[in-house]
């Protein structure tokens, strides 16, 4: 069921995904899924959990063996962008499902490994300052997500090299942010 849902989401987007159509594709009655998921949102929540697992699963090999924290963080950002392009459906579910995380605690626990990995690398780069760590993490997340969206919007072209170009630029931008991390906190309002 979940697999079919992902397939469908890839074709029509999360917002236009319907339980009915998924049932049709599975060759079962429209009511069948409701025996397993109480409603549409619960099904989408299950897909979201898988999305986080999948994302983390692709990120791990991308950073293993990299010891420099800066390189690690850049590799994570790159992997994130690649994931978005390679798994559009799962990526879109992460941010566009419209499902309230607060209603589905499974989601929040599924995203923890990822959060932990990011925080680990960031902490190593900004020792002693939790504020700076938070700011750097946020900046990298924003940048990676932005690059992913630009890539999906076709801003890097639609050809073969698009993904690699985007991933490369993401890594470079991440390193630029790391280089300038001291500017993320400091004078003017002491955030």
């Amino acid at each position: 069921m979940i697999d079919v849902a992902i397939e469908l989401i890839a074709e029509r987007g999360v917002r236009d995904f319907s339980v009915a159509e998924a049932s049709r594709r599975l060759g079962v009655a429209p009511s069948a899924p409701y025996a397993h998921f109480s409603d549409r949102d619960e099904l989408l929540a299950a897909v979201t959990v898988r999305a986080y697992q999948s994302l983390f699963g692709e990120m791990q090999p991308a950073i293993e063996g990299i010891t420099d924290p800066g390189e690690r963080l850049a590799a994570m950002a790159s992997a994130f962008v690649r994931f978005a392009a390679t798994n559009r459906a799962l990526f879109s579910v992460l941010y566009e499902s419209g499902v309230d995380k607060a209603d589905h605690p499974e989601i929040e626990s599924a995203e923890q490994p990822l959060a932990r990995a990011i925080l680990g690398a960031v902490r190593a780069l900004t020792p002693g300052s939790d504020l700076q760590s938070d700011n750097l993490a946020t900046a990298v997340e924003a940048t990676a997500r932005g690059f992913a969206l630009l890539l999906l919007d076709g801003d890097f072209g639609s050809g073969a090299g698009a993904i690699e170009r985007a991933a490369d630029q993401t890594a470079r931008a991440t390193k630029a942010l790391i280089d300038g991390r001291h500017m993320l906190a400091g004078p003017t309002g002491e955030n």
Copy 2:
């Protein structure tokens, strides 16, 4: 009509916006709007045009008087993030309407002033290298968009200071990218 549409989008999101509901709210028949817009997409296209005008309109005062190109670019990024928070509906229409720009040339011309402004500031920062200019512009766009989304997702808190915190961090991150702009192009695959 357009005003009501914006109001509605603010409440239910672009994807769930319906011409029928807008008509109801205006107190007219569901078919009335179709005398002015051939279909739902054309109405959304009109809203999108207004969104770009509005965005550019808010950006101009935010940068007037700033001569340093770096400061200008940072101010633009900040203004973008503020715009997203202050005009959720218009911001969401920019990226989530599902309307194909290619089908509505009005949109493409409406975004030109903005593109021009960005390119102007970026060019001044990377004289002589169109590649570097493009890369910097892309990185800044990605970052600003990412920060805007994090802000809308509540990652900066929901209180009063959230917008300013996000805008401030956006400006700082933008400056960090500018500082490291030389790293956005160069060795390894010569993008």
